[in-house]
């Protein structure tokens, strides 16, 4: 696996002012300064976003404090707001999406990169990338009118296989956390496939040839040599996919059932943070209610920090075992 290309070649410029201006001509420093500024923009944007979210949610924060995060009642009429059901729904649907999406996506990427003839591979990938452009609303409509009836039809089969767990118990009305998970899977697959495929294709042929020369089978080469090489890129695509599923609004709200309660079963309806903001923000009747939706945005931000942190720890621990 490639060591970071920067460690050996890090030409970080240093020097006094006049030498600095002289070196600016060479282009290295311009490149450094310009790209650094762009990278800093991200930090500036994030800081600004958090700042705005924070200042515009003072009302509910002062009123509820930390109980906002653990409360389970969402009652705008009574002025009672508890965000736990939304947090639960967001985490569960995203987890479902990743659980189903990663194997499907990476599997398809491997096939397209390693096994499919180039023309077919290019053509199919081109089409798959188009899926990323389908607006959330259309996924939502397809969800209600196509996926939900399909799942209702499939429900007995799913129950037969997985019905013994409490995860798949209880009545099923079509709109549920499970349906939301499936819709999210379809939405994140294009990112995983497209990026993973490109990264796998970029693995140098010598690596493959080396493994094959040592007697490895096709699969062993792919699993033990190519994939670890491409790991960082694949991980990157998964983080993109995770991000998309955490923030997805329209499609989720149309198939999740929009019930602000925590149920054990995936067949039950649920609610996610992004969905409730999308549903209710425009019509929020007073400043306090509007503030709660902004606070929910802040909560999601915090949730993303935690999930990303956990994911990174997971990645670190697996990398230590495998090829470095």
């Amino acid at each position: 696996m490639a060591a970071s290309p920067t460690t050996a070649l890090n030409a970080r410029p240093s020097g006094r002012v006049s030498a600095f201006w002289q070196r600016l001509r060479s282009g290295d420093d311009i490149a450094y300064v310009v790209t650094l500024t762009c990278a800093l923009t991200i930090l500036a944007l994030a800081a600004l976003l958090v700042f705005e979210l924070y200042t515009n949610s003072t009302l509910p924060r002062e009123k509820f404090g930390w109980s906002f995060l653990v409360g389970t009642t969402w009652d705008p009429v009574a002025g009672q707001y508890g965000a736990l059901p939304f947090i639960y729904g967001t985490v569960v649907t995203s987890a479902l999406a990743l659980l189903m999406g990663i194997p499907l996506g990476v599997g398809a990427a491997i096939f397209l990169a390693e096994l499919a003839p180039t023309k077919i591979s290019n053509g199919l990938t081109f089409l798959i990338e188009l899926l990323a452009a389908v607006p959330s609303v259309i996924f939502g409509l397809l969800g209600i009118f196509v996926l939900v009836p399909a799942l209702i039809a499939l429900e007995p089969a799913i129950r037969a296989v997985l019905g013994w767990t409490p995860l798949f118990s209880g009545p099923f009305y079509g709109v549920s956390m499970f349906s939301a998970g499936v819709v999210l899977t379809v939405m994140i697959i294009p990112f995983i496939i497209s990026i993973s495929r490109e990264v796998i294709l970029a693995v140098p042929t010598e690596q493959r040839e080396g493994a094959l020369a040592l007697g490895a089978t096709r699969w062993e080469t792919t699993w033990n040599v190519v994939l670890p090489f491409a790991k960082k890129g694949i991980m990157g695509s998964i983080f993109l996919a995770l991000a998309r599923s955490l923030g997805e609004t329209m499609a989720v709200t149309m198939v999740i059932g929009n019930e602000a309660k925590i149920h054990e079963s995936l067949f039950a309806p649920g609610y996610s943070i992004a969905a409730v903001i999308a549903n209710n923000f425009s019509e929020a009747s007073d400043a306090l209610e509007r503030g709660t939706y902004i606070e929910l945005g802040l909560v999601l931000f915090g949730l993303t920090i935690v999930i990303n942190g956990l994911a990174r720890v997971l990645v670190l621990s697996t990398t230590r075992k495998g090829a470095s």
Binding site: A46, E129, A133, E248
Partner: protein, 268 residues
């Protein structure tokens, strides 16, 4: 084991083709030229179109790309070529965070920052909101693909006496070209379909919107408005618009690839 990957592909591709086919049959087959040339008409009157929304989406995407792609791409260059310290780690982490922010929150953010001070909705604010969404995606994908270029290529260039900047711009970036374009296209595609941020910034417009300071119609917003209406012919137009949006993105995709690359990968 490898045959399993074939199954995965079948499932993924099958779903995709189903969606495209559905969109085509529901939306594409009832497309008329009116759609591309006329302004929207009230419900019940036939002959309406979404010409202003098409132009609006094009303008918004143009502005968003001009902001999001250069900043994101150069940021990715930094992370990949100059990074390696904890600072880059923070930047990468923050990028992933920003990617996860729901588009509606970005819309509210842009509303607070641009629409309120200006006192009115505008194409400019819409483009900026979309541009802000594009930056983190562009950084992440650019960095991924630049990193995938083997160190040997960089070393080769530097051994020949090229400066760091020259190496980056004449060796590394061209080598990663195919991937970078993929990343950009995915980015544009994703942002082209975003509705929520536009509701708070570009607002929507039933008429033509000259310049950048007035509210403008956009395809995703029209799709959303029409799809949730009670009227059959508006719902039909929503599907057509969905199909057209896809075709718009496809056209951008094809056009960009034609101009920017001879499709080639690192030599095997």
């Amino acid at each position: 084991m490898l045959s399993l990957t074939g199954v995965c592909t079948l499932v993924a591709v099958g779903t995709l083709l189903f969606i495209l086919g559905y969109l085509f049959f529901h939306g594409g087959t009832s497309l008329t030229t009116d759609f591309f040339t006329k302004l929207p008409t009230p419900v019940g009157e036939s002959g309406g179109g979404m010409a202003n929304a098409l132009l609006g989406s094009a303008k918004l995407l143009l502005l968003a790309s001009c902001i999001g792609i250069p900043i994101g791409f150069l940021g990715g260059v930094y992370l990949s070529e100059f990074g390696g310290s904890s600072f880059s780690y923070i930047v990468r982490y923050t990028t992933d965070l920003l990617n996860g922010v729901p588009s509606i929150v970005i819309g509210i953010f842009a509303y607070i920052l641009i629409v309120l001070p200006q006192g009115h909705y505008s194409t400019l604010s819409g483009g900026l909101a979309l541009g802000v969404m594009m930056i983190p995606i562009a950084i992440r994908s650019s960095e991924d693909f630049l990193r995938a270029v083997p160190v040997s290529m960089r070393e080769g260039a530097m051994a020949l006496g090229a400066s760091k900047a020259k190496t980056i711009f004449t060796v590394v970036i061209p080598a990663a070209k195919a991937g970078l374009i993929t990343g950009i296209m995915l980015n544009v595609a994703r942002v082209a379909g975003e509705t929520a941020p536009l509701i708070f910034t570009a607002f929507g417009n039933r008429y033509w919107s000259p310049g950048w300071e007035q509210p403008t119609a956009a395809l995703p917003v029209m799709i959303y408005t029409y799809a949730i209406s009670p009227y059959a012919d508006w719902k039909q137009q929503a599907w057509s618009a969905g199909f057209v949006l896809l075709m718009l993105v496809l056209t951008i995709n094809v056009f960009a690839r034609m101009i920017l690359s001879k499709r080639g990968h690192v030599a095997r």
